[in-house]
């Protein structure tokens, strides 16, 4: 068979590429595959709102050589429930006695995320790259991430630097050109989103995330990790469906600043308690952002082996945050001092001051055959069950002046992992 010069050139380029990519990997033979599926169920039902989210996921990772791992996976959120659609403050409620100024909207969504990536290892250094694409009725996301990691000093020290960039889009209602934000109307529903419907548009969101970590083994049973993360978000960050009463008879779409810079420092410490064959893990995090939210998080986990294959985890978590500088529960409508609280307004309880506690338990059972393989194919099989309950105490957020006293959220999880 005669090849044309062009075909020969293409063949040479392909061969060279294959040699460059596969050449360094040729000597190692790992050939391991790992499959994991996770299923979680989240439910919360505070006053006026409720939300149930089922999240399945499936991930496959293959390691054809010691130097290379390839990953692909899918996850989803199936959302059903209600959320606050119109928010007014307690003073408005006092003026309009008996008026139900807080309404809710039913929410049904199906978020799909597909992702893939690779890790390349050479000596004490590894490089990871990945991409994920997600779509839901009113939101689309393209996200790229890269990271580099090194483990000097006999692997006692680990440094990792990671970066991710999101090109996201959120669906919104077409607003009247030239109008101030005070006249913006909320998105009614997601019908027509990401189509050429004349009443729909998209707003871009750009997210840059940078994270650096240092992990250190100090003794044969004690190690620590310090993580610094910074995230810069630029774009439409409000809830497009929510309106806030900002003046007598005026309801405007929620409106918050387009720019937000967030940073956090985390300190983690793991201690193995040899006499009782258990691990104690402590995690502390401080957070600060340009919306003036500051938060502190403390989490303590205790995980103990019961026999060789069974382990049980108990955990507790406490979280506290201040509210965004522009957040208020008193968007009342009317003249000052009862009028809008300034340039921005939000009815978002996640931006309000609150604290929460969480308690949880997890059980994991791992089967690792000493000889041969399970049913002839698996070198390890692992199944886990978890349950957590979280309680939120909102210090200012109310629904028309009525405090929320039953803000509990429940998480249930099932995990199955097989190594081939």
């Amino acid at each position: 068979m005669q090849l044309t010069p062009h075909a020969r050139a293409k063949l040479a380029v392909a061969a060279l590429t294959a040699a460059l990519v596969l050449g360094p990997l040729g000597t190692a033979r790992a050939q391991v595959a790992e499959f994991e599926t996770n299923h979680s169920l989240f439910h919360e039902q505070p006053t006026k709102t409720n939300m149930t989210v089922y999240s399945p996921s499936g991930d496959l990772e293959v390691t054809p050589t010691n130097a290379l791992s390839l990953r692909a996976g899918w996850s989803a959120d199936v959302v059903s429930g209600a959320s606050v659609a119109v928010k007014a403050g307690p003073t408005y409620q006092n003026i309009h006695t008996g008026a139900d100024v807080v309404t809710t909207a039913s929410v049904h969504d199906f978020r799909n995320v597909a992702h893939g990536g690779f890790t390349f290892r050479k000596d004490i250094v590894s490089f990871t790259g990945g991409y994920s694409y997600s779509i839901e009725h009113d939101y689309q996301s393209n996200s790229f991430n890269v990271s580099a990691r090194t483990e000097p000093l006999e692997h006692d020290t680990q440094f990792e630097l990671g970066y991710a960039h999101n090109f996201d889009q959120v669906c919104n209602r077409v607003q009247t050109a030239g109008n101030p934000a005070t006249l913006d109307h909320a998105l009614e529903d997601s019908t027509g989103c990401f189509t050429s419907a004349p009443t729909r548009t998209t707003d871009p969101i750009s997210i840059d995330t940078l994270q650096a970590s240092w992990s250190q083994a100090w003794t044969p049973s004690f190690m620590t990790q310090v993580i610094y993360g910074v995230q810069v978000t630029d774009g439409f960050q409000s809830d497009p469906y929510r309106t806030v009463v900002i003046a007598e008879g005026i309801q405007a779409q929620e409106h918050v600043p387009n720019e937000r810079t967030r940073q956090s420092v985390s300190l983690k410490a793991n201690l193995y308690l040899r006499p009782i064959k258990a691990a104690l893990r402590l995690s502390l995090r401080g957070y600060d952002d340009t919306w003036a939210i500051q938060s502190e998080t403390g989490e303590l986990e205790f995980e103990k082996y019961l026999g060789e294959s069974f382990r049980v985890l108990l955990r507790g978590r406490v979280y506290n945050q201040t509210g965004a500088v522009f957040w208020s529960d008193d968007y009342t409508g009317g003249n000052a001092p009862l009028g809008p609280k300034g340039q921005y307004w939000s009815g978002d309880r996640e931006l309000s001051p609150f604290w929460s506690w969480l308690g949880g338990v997890r059980a994991l059972y791992t089967v690792t055959p000493k000889h041969g393989r399970l049913i002839g194919i698996m070198t390890r099989f692992k199944v886990g069950l978890s349950f957590d309950v979280e309680n939120f105490t909102y210090t200012q957020f109310t629904l028309g002046g009525v405090p929320i006293g039953n803000a509990y959220a429940y998480f249930g999880g099932l995990s199955i992992n097989a190594l081939f």
Binding site: N142, S264, R274
Partner: protein, 70 residues
């Protein structure tokens, strides 16, 4: 203040360079219960649900996509 933190971190890093856990002593450190990112995929779903109800972020990986804000 920031300079003090930086100097303290550098001092700590310097101390770390003197510490060596020998390979034969690493069995416990390699145990799954001692990993900082143990059961990461299962934990990611839980963290995703929690973070969407809080104003904060951080302490986990950088990868991720989508809003899932409900």
């Amino acid at each position: 203040m920031r300079m003090s933190i930086l100097l303290a971190a550098l001092a700590l890093a310097g101390t770390a360079s003197c510490v060596t856990v020998r390979p034969q002593q690493r069995a416990v450190l390699a145990d799954p219960v001692m990993q900082f990112d143990g059961e990461s995929k299962a934990e990611a779903l839980r963290v995703h649900a929690i973070e969407n109800r809080e104003g904060a972020f951080g302490g986990t990986g950088v990868a991720g996509g989508g809003c899932g804000c409900n």
